[in-house]
Amino acid sequence: MLYGLTGVTKRYTQRGKQIDALAGIDLAIDEGEFLAIQGSTGSGKTTLLQMLGAMDRPSSGTLDFDGRDLAEMREGDLSELRSHAFGFIFQGFNLIPTLTAQENVETALVPWRTPAGERRRRAGDALAGVGLADRARHIPSELSGGEQQRVAIARALVRAPRVILADEPTGNLDERTRDDIIGLLEQLWRERGQTLIVVTHDTWVASRASRRIRLDQGRVEGEDAGAGADLDSAFLAEPAVAGH
């Protein structure tokens, strides 16, 4: 077991109102899974992804990652962990607008203090891995949405993380590009055996996962296996909802 979540809650205050983004999550994730987290807007799926990526700490509960409780770790250790264990992919790509594709990938290696030469070589390899070797010198605004997300994937993969966390990775893309990106992520997941956790409200994307969970009002409301678990099995349009 890679992740073990027990009674994880997240409460924050927005404009004087208390919001329970997560209302007690119990969840176990194994190494090498392709997990899709589904749910409507405000269901807490992005907050859960932040917890899983050590970007935020739970208000209560335990969040065990590889034997360490993230809820108890200090900020310095969390950023250390982020730089080694996780690769992030965002809906808005979140590339640094002033840096070239190559340099954007290199930012992921800055926390490691990788020597410049090796940094360039690894970033170049990662870009080649997502099929963008010839676009390395372009800045994000010169790239299409799909190309930008490929750069972001290269940035997430360049450190060979144990977990790739993607927040609506295809939310800003058209259908054909979406298929490309998901195809790329699936391919990388199969080749490398990394854990892939994708937050999405796109049922087609979720159907590619090996397991799907559905969040509603900060709780896990349903769970089933996706197409990724068994390529031969029929796609379930609606996940079976676990008993209330």
């Binding site: 932040q50 970007m55 962990l81 640094i96 607008p97 926390p111 940035r155």
Partner: protein
């Protein structure tokens, strides 16, 4: 990566960065220009003081003559007998500076012996007037010697045309002579003089009929080393031409003190005493001690003198101190505030960018460092622009400011005004007007000033960067996910 990122970010928001740099530059430039201006005014003041009383003089002593003693000076110009009427005459008269009471060298010795006095020397300042012309014919008709005397004493003071028409032309040539202690030229009127040609006076010249001529007088009168000039009928050899600082109230000629005493009938006396204190801290005490020795004398320290300087130089000094300083401080504060606000707003617009970097594992201090790096780069540009602008401003001040006038205490003029109108004019020509000194203003930019300016620009940039960094450090990596455009 650090420099690439800093450079790219600044290029992206180059307008805002340039505006911030310009703001810093204006603040820094004002500091440079105002400081240079204030330095220039300070130098002008030093120059005035030095030219009036020489370098290294801490205290000067002179005694004002009582008004009745100073009264109208008369030339004996009535013809010895009537038969000489209409013939040419030439007279010379030596006067010690009007309004100044000679002091005995005994007093000088007592001052020199006072505690805290490092050195004391005396001089005699006097004026020689050569009057030549024809004995007036009008004499016999008018019958009063007073008319002739008045004619002699009012050479060009705007007497009515009618009077002049009846009088024969009279030429008055006057020049100033100072007798100096040849054994002690380090202190006193020649202390700031530089020998332009020939040599200076030495103690061997104490009783010799030799003189130094100032450059301007030598040029006007075509005198050079080796020539001779008559003072009151006695020939003196020119042994050197000296240059005194610009604006200096120098005499035309300098001769050994003993001869000045003989010519002016002041044997054993001086009319100006120069004192150097052992240390600057002693000046006040020495001044009091001198006042004990010479209760009626005017004892002036260089500090008193600086306080007496008035005129446009004094206004310039006040302007530099008050308005200029506040203007520079206000501009700096405004520049710092603008730089800080712009930096914070730039950081706020990059919440997602910094959140992403934090999600990638960048430490908070690496991001703060990035923001600081951008600010410092802007500060460097601001410093370079600011120093350039400031140097340009200082140059413009020096190039276009009008000459400043400094007016010193008016003791001499007051004494001169007591005399008849002609006397006043003579006094103006030789001593009174010389108390007003014109100096040109410089605005020197020293390396230290450039250093301070650069430091100020960088300090402003660091303050702005610190605000921006503080804002950036408060971001959480989760913000990268929350803000989706």
């Amino acid at each position: 990566m650090f420099f690439t990122y800093v450079f790219r970010e600044l290029r992206r928001r180059h307008r805002q960065a340039l505006l911030t740099a310009l703001g810093l530059a204006v603040g820094v430039a004002l500091v440079v220009a105002v400081t240079a201006y204030a330095d220039g005014v300070g130098r002008a003041q030093d120059q005035v003081l030095q030219s009036l009383y020489g370098v290294g003089t801490d205290i000067t002593v002179s005694q004002q003559r009582k008004m009745d003693e100073g009264g109208a000076q008369r030339f004996g110009m009535q013809p010895p007998d009537d038969s000489q009427a209409g013939e040419r005459f030439s007279r010379s008269r030596v006067m010690t500076s009007p309004g100044q009471q000679p002091l005995s060298t005994g007093k000088l010795a007592r001052i020199a012996a006072l505690d805290g006095v490092g050195d004391a020397t005396g001089s005699i300042a006097m004026t020689v007037m050569n009057v030549s012309g024809e004995f007036a014919q009008v004499m016999q008709q008018g019958g009063g010697e007073g008319v002739a005397a008045a004619a002699g004493a009012q050479p060009s003071s705007g007497s009515s045309q009618q009077d002049q028409a009846q009088m024969a032309p009279i030429d008055i040539v006057s020049f100033s002579v100072t007798g100096v202690d040849t054994a002690d030229l380090e202190l006193g009127p020649l202390s700031s003089a530089q020998v332009a040609s020939g040599r200076s006076l030495t103690s061997a010249d104490a009783d010799a009929r030799v003189m130094l001529v100032t450059k301007a007088y030598a040029r006007q009168n075509s005198l050079s080393v080796g020539d001779t000039k008559r003072i009151d009928g006695r020939k003196f050899a020119v042994v050197g031409v000296v240059a005194l600082p610009a604006g200096s109230t120098s005499s035309d000629l300098y001769i050994p003190l003993s001869w000045a005493q003989k010519l002016s009938d002041n044997e054993g006396k001086v009319n100006q005493i120069y004192v150097r204190a052992d240390s600057a801290d002693d000046i006040a005490a020495v001044k009091e001690a001198i006042e004990q020795v010479l209760p009626k004398a005017t004892v002036t320290t260089s500090e008193d003198l600086a306080g007496q300087v008035s005129g446009s130089l004094s206004s310039a000094s006040t302007l530099a101190d008050r308005l200029g300083t506040w203007l520079a401080v206000a501009a700096l504060i405004a520049a710092f505030a603008v730089a800080s606000l712009l930096t914070v707003s730039a950081v706020s617009r990059r919440v997602r960018e910094f959140g992403t970097l934090k999600a990638l594992g960048w430490k908070g201090r690496r991001i703060v460092g990035q923001v600081l790096g951008e600010s410092v780069a802007v500060g460097v540009v601001g410093a370079v622009l600011g120093v350039a602008l400031g140097v340009l401003g200082a140059w413009l001040i020096a190039a276009f400011s009008p000459a400043l006038e400094a007016t010193m205490g008016n003791a001499l003029q007051g004494a001169a005004q007591g005399g008849p109108p002609g006397m006043q004019q003579a006094a103006d020509a030789i001593g009174g007007a010389a108390q007003s000194v014109t100096v040109s203003l410089t605005a020197p930019v020293s390396p230290q000033l450039v250093g301070i300016a650069v430091a100020l620009a960088l300090a402003g940039a660091l303050i702005a960067g610190a605000f921006g960094g503080w804002r950036a450090s408060r971001l959480r990596p989760a913000d990268a996910l929350r803000r989706v455009d």
